[in-house]
Symmetry: C2
Subunit: 147 residues, 2 copies
């Protein structure tokens, strides 16, 4: 396959695994205090209706999410499915191009255009697009790039 | 913190994200054909009652699992929860030591002792140990180590 034919997520790098929890303090006591993961960053994101903690997980990070706005999508997910895996995030170099390629393939999207997230531009694919997994695409802001 | 105090999963590296699906061919058509992930390995694991495909996802891999034995834990998970995230796997250097440390902390385990998996010794933590996420520990066989 020539490099010109590399499309969609063939050059994606996993960025984080998102886990939704009822109570962030309680989840941090488990993940850091008991399981031994290291806390990298904790923040309140009122625009997104969540409190968030990022934990070091080697080549990736774990994002613990706890809804603060009961009308948010995250709160509805938690009420419907309970605590557990919420999404898997892949960093891509050009989110607009990846979305365009996916749209051309008829992939069902939650976000038709990228929007500003915590660490860069983000867009979610519908879970039906990936057999029940909600995939997040992320084009990292320069400050948050590892490379 | 001294190096002697580094315990449990503080040195864990994410190895893969496990996703359970009804039909592996169908899931590969989506993940590789449409989303563009690259297939690394496909195998039938009758001892585990599953067909498996590993896909390249940058710093980690995606494991698609499809039960072939309707009595397996994977089949019961699929019947109860539907398609989607099944587990998150972390590679650890010494699985017996990590299990011992977790047991000492009272962490609820599915596997009290490591057992042979596809790529090395594995043990699963109970989802209740990690807010609904089933964590798999893996001590990779030498042949499967990246480093």
């Amino acid at each position: 396959m020539s490099i010109l034919e590399k499309v969609q997520l063939s050059n994606a790098q996993i960025d984080h695994v998102g886990i939704v929890v009822h109570d962030l303090d309680d989840a941090l006591a488990t993940y850091c205090g008991i399981l031994g993961f290291r806390l990298l960053e904790r923040l309140h994101a009122p625009d997104h209706g969540v409190e968030i903690a990022f934990l070091d997980a080697g080549r990736t990070t774990i994002e613990l999410l706890s809804p603060t706005d009961q009308e948010s999508g995250t709160a509805r997910f938690l009420a419907r499915r309970g605590e557990g895996s919420h999404h898997v995030c892949f960093a891509v170099p050009d989110i607009a191009q990846t979305l365009q390629e996916l749209r051309a393939k008829g992939v069902r999207l939650i976000d038709e255009t990228p929007r500003q997230g915590i660490h860069g531009l983000v867009a979610f694919l519908h879970p039906q697009a990936a057999h029940g997994v909600m995939i997040e695409l992320l084009q990292k802001d320069r400050a948050h790039r590892l490379e």
